[in-house]
Amino acid sequence: MTGGPISLAAAAMIAGRHCGWFPLLALLLCSSVARAQTDRQPPDTMEARVLACVACHGPAGRGIDNDYFPRLAGKPAGYLTNQLIAFRDGRRRYTPMNYLLEFQQDSYLRQMAEYFAAQRPPPPPEIVPVVSQEILDRGRSLAMTGDAEHGVPACAACHGPAFTGMEPAIPGLLGLRASYLSAQLGAWRYGTRTATAPDCMQNVAGHLTELDVTAVTAWLAALPIPPDSSPTARGAWPLPFACGSQPK
């Protein structure tokens, strides 16, 4: 099978036949590839430029069936830009992503972020929580009202009453699995994830106990996603304390 060049027609047939093999890529590229056989240029779109992200984040950033790989679609563009810059500069660590973004300029990272922020793919399947009702109640109370005695503000105070986030830099917390959410809270506590100072999430995460983390992440992960989960307009509510990434 190592023979010479295959004809264009054969190549197109092969590409077509195997498009099912890697559904994520096929979805995005197969139709355009058949077209591109003649001039052999990829489509001049962001969708084609971020194919390298699809295997882990799903088409249109809708997330995939892996607990740890976050959904990107619909998050505020400013928030996503901040994350991409943090990965590029090593302030947020996940080696495969640090590597992919190492030599990209801010302007391109912003374009990638805007692309994912604008996507509205269908919501991921709902999750049935595996923790007790008691723990879920604790989670709900932390998220909605906080725990003043232990210095924990309500998550809703910043992330919004419906947890859909606020433009430009506060992310929604919907559609993310508990293991991803708790890894992020852990990363803030251990300093491997940092945001622009004052890093309000470091402060929040620092006041949570292990049990708080289990409770609040289990409750958040089980929230249904409303039909419109777009982030709320900038300035819709005041923050309980300042976050460096969210302009006043």
Partner: protein, 431 residues
């Protein structure tokens, strides 16, 4: 090597290279210079602009700036087989940088690899290439360095194992591998060729990676540009002299120039450590200088014919591999690189006829498949297309199979690779 290579905060850079042998504590720096200081030149003066351009050509930033930290403040870790070196603060801070240096001191560090007190610099600082730089160019770089903001940050002592922590060992390295002397133009060649040779051999320090590293950690003059595995990084920098590897003899000048400056071309894209060279340095070169380098590089190729394929594996095994490889390729790769391997260049590189995947060492294509990559975002190619990493999706057998397939299909003449080779590179450092 791999145990060290996995240290978390490892910043593997080229330097591993020539590095080597030795080292004394950093005490050597305590020189007291009574010589008068040159005044810092105006930041927008012509000589500063010129110096900035030349510092780009020399890629000083790659080693002397820690990502996300102050320009030229040093402290960047450079893992070597002998321990970790830390680059120096070369800002004009009087106490912790080179603020007290004279132009002569600076020229001497570039030209002879000696600190102002006469102490020997480790060859991780590529003075064995910079020695070719003219006095005028060295003075311009120094003028530029005097105009950048001073940063107070003491140099971090190197962390080298015995006996390499003895700087006097550098003397041995110098005897073997260092020839002092500015570039001497070759009167038989065009001025463009000479300009290209000056940049490639001198400031570009291309031979630091593109030369086999011998046991002593030096890059040997006689083997300059013949290619080699970069220690600690596990990337292979192909030979630039032989068409057997990545010699550029049959590339067009336009393709070589595109590759160097924009990072993509109709013959292939840059990746791994070469992506950094393009991003930090080559993308800033002028049309004329890029073209001059391309002319020189094209002329370097010896025009040798590829060796016949010699597979380390029995043929039944490798034909099984090829069959598995073909199905992986059709499923995972053909969308971008197309069924006939010709890709959609320059954005999705052609794999058919791509020299950089057929070399004796299969390290680069294996790592490409495991880690994916984006060519650097450059002025000439600001929003590149990317390749996904397959480390999580494909097993060792599948990686070996698909790499074998692309190395042996469409007339490519590489040899098969084994699952063990693929597995070994899963832990290679990603930085």
């Amino acid at each position: 090597m791999s145990a060290q290579a996995q240290q978390p905060d490892q910043l593997l850079r080229r330097m591993a290279l020539g590095v080597a042998l030795a080292a004394l504590a950093f005490a050597a720096l305590a020189f007291a210079s009574a010589v008068a200081q040159p005044h810092p030149p105006a930041p927008d003066s012509a000589i500063v602009k010129q110096g900035e351009y030349l510092a780009r050509a020399g890629d000083c930033i790659a080693c002397h700036t820690t990502p996300g930290a102050a320009l030229f403040a040093g402290g960047r870790a450079m893992p070597t087989p002998f321990g970790t070196l830390y680059s120096s603060n070369i800002t004009p801070d009087a106490d912790t940088g080179i603020g007290k240096w004279t132009t002569d001191n600076f020229y001497s560090s570039m030209h002879t690899g000696r600190a102002p007190d006469g102490g020997l610099l480790y060859p991780a600082m590529p003075f064995s290439s910079y020695t070719k730089v003219t006095r005028a160019d060295s003075d311009a770089i120094f003028a530029y360095l005097r105009a950048v903001p001073p940063v107070r940050q003491p140099n971090r002592p190197h962390d080298l194992r015995f006996p390499y922590n003895n700087r006097s060992l550098i003397l041995g390295w110098r005897t073997l591998f260092f020839t002092e002397g500015e570039y001497k133009p070759d009167a038989a060649k065009s001025s463009e060729w000479n300009r290209g040779a000056y940049l490639v051999q001198g400031l570009g320090h291309c031979s630091m990676c593109h030369t086999p590293i011998n046991a002593l950690g030096g890059s040997s003059q006689s083997q300059a540009f013949q290619g080699g595995l970069i220690p600690m990084q596990n990337w292979y920098a192909p030979s630039l002299t032989s068409n057997k590897e990545a010699g550029l003899g049959d590339w067009s000048i336009a393709d070589i120039s595109d590759l160097l400056r924009s990072g993509v071309s109709h013959r292939g894209a840059v990746y791994g450590p070469m992506a950094e060279v393009t991003f930090d340095s080559l993308q800033y070169m002028s049309d004329d200088d890029t073209r001059a380098m391309a002319i020189y590089l094209k002329g370097l190729a010896l025009g040798s014919i590829p060796d016949p394929v010699s597979s380390p594996m029995p043929t039944t095994e490798s034909s099984l591999l090829t069959r598995l490889g073909e199905s992986v390729y059709k499923g995972q790769c053909a969308n971008c690189h197309s069924g006939d391997g010709r890709g959609m260049p320059p954005q999705f590189p052609s794999l058919a006829g791509n020299q950089s995947i057929q070399m004796g060492s299969a390290v680069n294509p294996i790592r490409m498949v495991l880690n994916g990559g984006y060519p650097p975002g450059t002025a000439g190619n600001p929003i590149p297309y990317g390749m996904p990493p397959f480390a999580q999706l494909l097993s060792d057998d599948e990686v070996a199979a698909v790499v074998t397939y692309i190395r042996t299909s469409w007339g490519n003449r590489g040899a098969a690779v084994s699952a063990a080779q693929a597995n070994a590179l899963r832990s290679a450092p990603l930085e």
